[in-house]
Subunit: 125 residues, 2 copies
Amino acid sequence: MEPTKKHDVFQAIADKTRRDVLRLLAEKKELPISAIAAHFPISRTAITKHLNILAEANLVQSRKSGREKIYHLHPEPLTELKQWLSFYERFWENKLSILKHVVENEYPPTFVTIGGFFCLHLPRH
Amino acid sequence: MEPTKKHDVFQAIADKTRRDVLRLLAEKKELPISAIAAHFPISRTAITKHLNILAEANLVQSRKSGREKIYHLHPEPLTELKQWLSFYERFWENKLSILKHVVENEYPPTFVTIGGFFCLHLPRH
DNA sequence: ATCATATGAAACCTTTAGGTGTTATGTAAA
DNA sequence: TTTACATAACACCTAAAGGTTTCATATGAT
């Protein structure tokens, strides 16, 4: 029978250390295990276990280069979290938060008012 | 010293049962403990513990009515999760997803093109 | 060939998570 | 005032989480 993945994305991000590892990999693009461990007060072995859990949830991937195992972020599974969250947004977000979302998370849009329409210019990329 | 909250929102949602409890409360608005427990194959005592963890994370609140303790969803702490997620969105979302987000999660906006500006009309509420 | 380094793997420990069952207490209803 | 019911409070259990240390193995550098 399928070896049923033991850790999902919800469990993977439950631990602060693992969230910190994700953040580190987001910033540094890719790092071998020892370099990751150097950022934390716990043992390399412990970090390896956290990396295994993150890998089970498919939040990180690795390639081997010589004697090093180099990890990088694989953010796609976070979409599951986003979907889960989106269900609850309607319980607390008001509609103005559309603007808030855009303003806070994207390049500053340009606002214009044209004939009673409240518009924002979305730059094309 | 402050009895330092033991469970945060990340840990609270790590457990499937607790996520199911949240979903149930989102649908049913409010329910006493026994009614909640009736939806699950585990004991009422176990559900009470899950509710305590959710309450520590401030994801549920309760009021007492006679001999019943009635719980309801308190979604605000999920904003912390949303903020955490938003950091990673840029690693997998392309910019078109701004539109995607608006279209999927909000009332259909109106699109207009004015003098080279690609605008969308955000209805005011 | 030797030595240092990066990782893997195993054994072990302590605390917490998630569950059980039993008993006690407060409130509603008969 | 009994009786039934909803919850609280314990004591307890097992397995998993998060950590440690030690030893082995593979690879790069001298």
